[in-house]
Symmetry: C2
Subunit: 136 residues, 2 copies
């Protein structure tokens, strides 16, 4: 199949496929007229790449999976190098999530404090407090 059909079947663009080829990730055979020629195996390689990309893997990180498939393994993650990428990505995700959670907490606290101070400065004095028990 030619580049347009592969792109359509994988839900991507021809530009993307040419880019992958320029990176050496998905080289293509050539027909006599110079057109790139792909087969079903290439579609599977491409699907593997896209799946990982959707997960936030960058291109270089998908390379071990592609190599693994090309080496004849039924799954891209059947090779140690792929598993290593998985583990490294998990660590990255954990670190990133932790950092974002920390930022979220800080921003949330800042918002709460700022809202409190804003309401204290409003006309009519401070709004009703929430106090427990005791007759008024």
């Amino acid at each position: 199949m030619r580049i347009g059909e592969l792109a359509r079947r994988a839900g991507t663009t021809t530009r993307t496929l040419r880019y992958y080829e320029s990176r050496g990730l998905l080289p293509a055979r050539r027909a006599e007229n110079g057109y790139r020629s792909y087969d079903e195996g290439d579609l599977r390689l491409l699907q593997q790449i896209r799946t990982l990309q959707d997960f936030g893997f960058d291109l270089e990180e998908t390379r071990p999976f592609v190599d693994c498939l090309r080496a004849g393994h039924p799954a891209g993650d059947a090779c140690p190098a792929s598993l290593a990428v998985y583990r490294r990505k998990l660590d990255e995700l954990d670190a990133l999530i932790a950092q974002l959670a920390s930022v979220r907490a800080e921003v949330g606290a800042q918002l709460a404090r700022a809202e409190l101070e804003a309401s204290a400065d409003l006309p009519g004095g401070p709004p009703p407090r929430c106090e427990l028990g005791g007759p008024t």
Copy 2:
């Protein structure tokens, strides 16, 4: 004070300060010789910007805070526009964290599955299973 001193005191670079000025975020007065001249107020504005940048706010998002300080408020988040940015950022963070958590779960599951299949293909047959009860 001049640009180098301000940069040092804020823990950033002169290039960054010129960049902020080019974006209209932190304009500077000029001395007679053309040198940029800053005061303590500028340092506070800059600190506000850096704090938010460290939280992952992009430059445009810091603008309401800077404007708020420049308007004479004691805190950059004492203005409604700043609070709106806080809230938007919280929503963004929540969405991003949720997405990353989802990805983390999927990647973790893939890793577990791949490790299981790998161990099943190792020499010596599959490793000991973890089964409950029953005589062997």
